[in-house]
């Protein structure tokens, strides 16, 4: 909001340079965002917080300046000259909705002449970026910015039966507003009406019909108090935000109406001529009480941690317009009457904030607190997350963070389970309308983005939440943390020591095994299983028993096409919380073996379709106590083996913790291994 320093000077002396004044205002809570020179004037751009509607006016800001520097505030000049005709004889006000409009006041001025404003008034308005319209409108705008109290002017002769009725609208009722729109109203919206029709949307905008025009000679000047909630609801639902609604919904001064009406009426008489009718016509069905607030100086000291003298507290509050009242009952309390314009002050803590503002936040001594507890907990998963992220970094994966909202179709295309997506009612764009049920679409989009920018070799992961409704009722949402990983291109840059090779699925499997191994997760298995976003030929599930934790594999050709990816992508997604919640290795020191190990290699030929797992099973099912490890170290396919055959070379290590194994014993064990391989997977020894 813009404030001219010259205009402010009409209410309070300002000797300080603009920068000094700006700094003082900022440090008292009226943040100055900018200072613009304008001729012999400076314009301050103030960011007034929503709790201070009183400072959304020149008098309000001048009041703060006066308090900051200990100067006096000059009220605007007032020389009210009324005619003899009684306002009450000509008009009346009836309020049928006292909850929404506790107070309505008006004055009537006759024989005015609508004309352009004098230069000084036009200049004032222009200085804060307002365009002058005519003297009457300009004066009400001027008084609005001077006092912070919105006013409205009706052409009095256009009011049916020249009466004012304040009531709620009926559903479907219509009103043409000044901005030329036809508004259809809802029940509960507050209206200003004449004897028959609505003439204004209370506190927001006037009606077209009763708007003043060059031929207007009699005006009714409205000055009222409206319920902030009602104004806000109406302005929101009609999408109308005006200077008046802005102030009313934040809370205007409930006790300024006579003063503001008198000020406005005398300016009109002064500038547009005419006669002010005698008296204010008013309806005030619901008395707005003055607020009183108690302050315990001790409490203020406790909250601020600074020994502020009680005397200073009183001085600060009195300078801000609070009136100290007598407190006979208890010496520990100070009682203050809150000035009517301070709609933000209801409680002791509000007074303490005022004291803090004027003591100066910078003056309050800083220290670190001593806590009286002896423990604070942090959920395990936060540490687990960090560990896994460090592992993935050192395995070459770059972390990415993508938006949680994605394209609806992308979401559906990658959702392995029944899709129950959470949709955003007011998304920024259609492609950002659905809360992701999987991290895969975000990963694919990131790959697409990078490939298009020439980054052809990528290894990345994202650890983040996915969202869905818990069930078909769509009442409760659930969030799961997932880990998605993807690789495409080559693992190493082109080097002088080896030929480039592309990523394949074993790279990704290796990374998942790394995580599982390092976190000590037990019972995790990876076995072939189809998945919606994976190529059916290269797709596997990560499982613990029957529970599927996630999938890994090669990207499905259909998705590869729809995301316009020109190279193979290997990727997977695992439910992170499920992954970390299973059985884990207990870290406890084990004796190292004292006796030598014996290595035996075995080379077998099996049918092509026999997978390694069944070979392993054939050996492990023997449960040989002395067999401590089992590793495949070569796979060979060649014509000389016979059609659809392959050769596997496996290294077995035998060791006994209690004694040195004899070669004869190992030979025997080894023979059972070969026998089992022959029986279980049809293997024969390769010669």
């Amino acid at each position: 909001m813009q404030f001219s320093i010259n205009w402010l000077k009409t209410y309070v002396d300002i000797e300080e340079k603009p920068e000094v004044l700006a700094d003082a205002l900022t440090m008292h809570g009226l943040a100055v965002d900018g200072i613009q020179p304008a001729g012999d004037d400076y314009i301050l751009d103030l960011d007034i917080t929503i709790n201070r509607p009183d400072c959304m006016s020149f008098l309000g800001v001048a009041r703060e300046i006066a308090a900051i520097y200990g100067r006096s505030l000059r009220d605007p000049p007032l020389t009210l000259e009324e005619g003899s005709e009684q306002s009450d004889h000509l008009t009346s006000v009836r309020i049928d909705a006292a909850e929404l409009c506790p107070r309505y006041c008006c004055r009537i001025i006759k024989d005015i002449e609508v004309a352009p404003s004098p230069a000084w008034l036009q200049d004032r308005l222009r200085s804060i970026g307002l365009a002058p319209i005519n003297n009457i409108v300009d004066i009400t705008n001027f008084v609005l910015f001077e006092t912070g109290q919105p006013l409205h002017v009706f052409d009095f002769d256009k009011l049916h039966k020249q009466r004012i009725v304040v009531r709620k609208a009926e559903k479907g009722e219509k009103l043409a507003t000044i901005d030329g729109e036809d508004r259809e109203l809802d029940a509960d919206m507050l209206l200003i009406c004449d004897a028959d029709h609505p003439v204004a949307l209370a506190g927001i905008m006037g009606g077209k019909e009763t708007e003043i025009f060059t031929g207007t000679t009699r005006v009714l000047l409205e000055c009222a108090y409206f319920s902030p909630v009602s104004i806000r609801r109406t302005s929101k639902s009609l999408g109308m935000h005006t200077d008046a609604s802005h102030l009313f919904e934040r809370g205007a001064d409930p006790d300024c109406h006579y003063r503001v009406l008198d000020r406005c009426a005398s300016l009109i008489r002064e500038i547009a001529g005419g006669t002010i009718l005698r008296g204010v016509t008013e309806s005030y069905p619901k008395k707005i009480e003055k607020k009183e607030v108690l302050l315990r100086p001790k409490r203020a000291v406790k909250v601020l941690g600074e020994k502020v003298e009680t005397r200073s507290m009183i001085e600060i509050l009195e300078n801000l317009g609070f009136r100290r009242l007598a407190t006979k009952e208890n010496k520990k309390f100070l009682r203050f009457e809150v000035p009517s314009f301070r709609v933000d002050i209801h409680r002791e803590i509000d007074l303490i904030e005022e004291i803090a503002r004027y003591v100066g936040y910078d003056k309050i001594k800083s220290s670190l607190p001593v806590f009286t507890d002896t423990y604070s907990s942090t959920p395990d998963f936060i540490r687990e997350e960090d560990n896994i992220k460090i592992l993935l970094s050192s395995a070459g994966f770059q972390e990415i963070i993508t938006f949680s909202f994605i394209d609806r179709e992308h979401n559906r295309a990658c959702c392995q389970e029944d899709s129950l997506p959470v949709e955003i009612l007011n998304p920024l764009a259609d492609q950002m309308s659905t809360m992701r049920e999987s991290l895969i679409p975000g990963i694919l989009q990131t790959i697409h983005f990078n490939l298009n920018r020439g980054n052809k070799s990528l290894a990345m992961y994202e650890l983040g939440n996915v969202y869905r409704y818990k069930d078909i009722n769509r009442s409760e949402t659930a969030e799961h943390r997932c880990l998605a990983m993807a690789q495409t291109g080559n693992p190493d840059p082109e080097t002088w020591y080896q030929n480039p090779r592309p990523f394949d699925l074993y790279d990704l499997k290796g990374a998942i095994e790394l995580i599982v191994r390092e976190m000590g997760a037990l019972g995790i298995e990876i076995s072939p299983e189809k998945c919606i976003y994976l190529d059916p030929g290269e797709s596997a599930a990560v499982k613990r028993g029957d529970q599927v934790l996630g999938y890994l594999g090669k990207l499905h050709p259909a998705l590869k096409k729809s995301f316009d990816l020109k190279q193979d992508v290997f990727l997977g997604e695992i439910n992170f919380f499920q992954l970390i919640s299973g059985d884990r290795l207990k870290y406890y020191c084990k004796e190292l073996p004292k006796y030598p190990k014996i290595e035996r290699d075995i080379s077998i030929i099996v049918d092509m379709h026999v997978n390694y797992d069944s070979v392993k099973q054939a050996i492990e099912s023997l449960k040989i106590r002395e067999l401590v490890s089992l590793d495949i170290f070569d796979i060979y396919e060649g014509k000389e083996l016979g059609p659809v055959k392959k050769a596997l070379a496996i290294r077995l290590i035998y060791q006994d913790p209690e004694l040195t194994l004899s070669a004869r014993h190992v030979d025997q064990l080894h023979k059972t291994v070969l026998a089992s391989l022959e029986n279980e997977v049809g293997a024969r020894l390769r010669s």
Binding site: E399, I401, F405, M435, W496
Partner: protein, 337 residues
């Protein structure tokens, strides 16, 4: 006799130490072990001339020396040979080493980690909360009733009438206080969402929320804690100022500025010429918030604060367009620690 042998050994060792080539070694070998004039050889040849009682010991010692000298010469010759070979062994250490791949944290995660570690050092707990929140936790319990203009401060994504994408991490405060009795101190970092999209705003961003509640917490503690935090996060020499502001869930409320880290407070593009950067919002927990979670505000006081993680990343790393944080161009992400 023994001393004579020892002297010989010393002489040999000192000559061996000075030998720099295989040729030097040959000379030494001839000098000590040469068949015709070698010192040790001669000594052995002279043995028969010694007293019969001296003879066995002298022979033993001389033979031992002979074996020692040959051994030392052999070792040294291996070393020299190896050294001369290494100079031409074909290692070009100026070639790049074999590639060890590595990835990095996203800059937001890096800042998040840093922030967490500072508060962990001060004994704070870390807590998380849901990203899809109810209206109650995101607004109501934070003293922002429906139809309150404070809601205009945050443009909200709605899921339904009473579910939103959380606009701040503050709801975690409420959930935390509901579950526990004070004293307590915690931080919560996570994703938040607002309906904004321009150079300085993304519809998704990260926030940190902090809360401390105990019997004697006051505004000076809030200041001390945040000064400690900001100096650790940015630099110990930054200027920090606290100025009054408004948040619905704290009172008194403050906004905290640090002197611009780019221009050191002189005024530049980053700080729009003011010399200050707004980095934190904070305040004493409003008694209304305590009443929502059944904490007696007469007995307990507390402070709360909030920080934009993205904003810190943008400031620390000089990022000119915060939208790049979510585009994930790997060349962009790899620039940061």
């Amino acid at each position: 006799m023994e001393s004579k042998i020892d002297a010989l050994r010393e002489d040999f060792l000192s000559e061996l130490g000075q030998a720099g080539s295989v040729a030097d070694l040959d000379t030494i070998k001839i000098k000590y072990l040469g068949r015709k004039q070698g010192i040790v050889s001669n000594f052995l040849k002279d043995l028969p001339n010694l007293n019969p009682e001296e003879r066995p010991l002298a022979g033993k010692l001389a033979n031992k020396l002979k074996v020692f000298i040959s051994g030392e010469l052999r070792n040294k010759s291996e070393i020299l040979e190896h050294e001369s070979r290494s100079e031409f062994a074909g290692i070009d250490i100026t070639l790049p080493g074999k590639y060890c791949s590595s990835g990095k944290f996203h800059p937001i995660s890096t800042v998040k980690k840093e922030v967490e570690s500072i508060f962990l050092r001060m004994g704070y707990a870390i807590e998380e909360g849901p990203e899809i929140e109810t209206d109650y936790y995101n607004f109501e319990a934070l003293n922002m009733p429906r139809n309150h203009p404070a809601r205009d401060m945050q443009d909200t994504f709605y899921i339904s009438d009473d579910h939103v994408l959380r606009t701040q991490t503050s709801p975690v405060q409420i959930r935390y206080m509901e579950k526990r009795k004070p004293p307590l101190r915690m931080i919560s970092l996570g994703k938040t969402f607002r309906r904004d999209w321009d150079v300085t705003h993304t519809p998704q961003f990260y926030q940190m929320e902090g809360l401390a509640v105990d019997r004697h917490i006051h505004f000076g503690h809030l200041k001390g804690t945040l000064i400690f935090f900001l100096k650790q996060l940015f630099d110990k020499d930054i200027q920090i100022r606290f100025r009054p502001s408004f948040f619905p869930f704290t009172e008194p409320s403050a906004e905290i500025d640090i002197s611009c880290i780019l221009c050191k407070g002189k005024g530049c593009r980053i700080c729009s010429g003011t010399g200050w950067l707004e980095v934190l919002g904070a305040g004493m927990v409003d008694p209304n918030v305590f009443s929502f979670v059944d904490i007696d505000s007469e007995e307990f006081t507390g402070f709360a604060f909030g920080l934009g993680i993205d904003r810190v990343a943008v400031l620390k790393y000089g990022i000119t367009d915060s939208r790049m944080l979510y585009e994930n161009d790997l060349r962009f992400l790899r620039q940061f620690p």
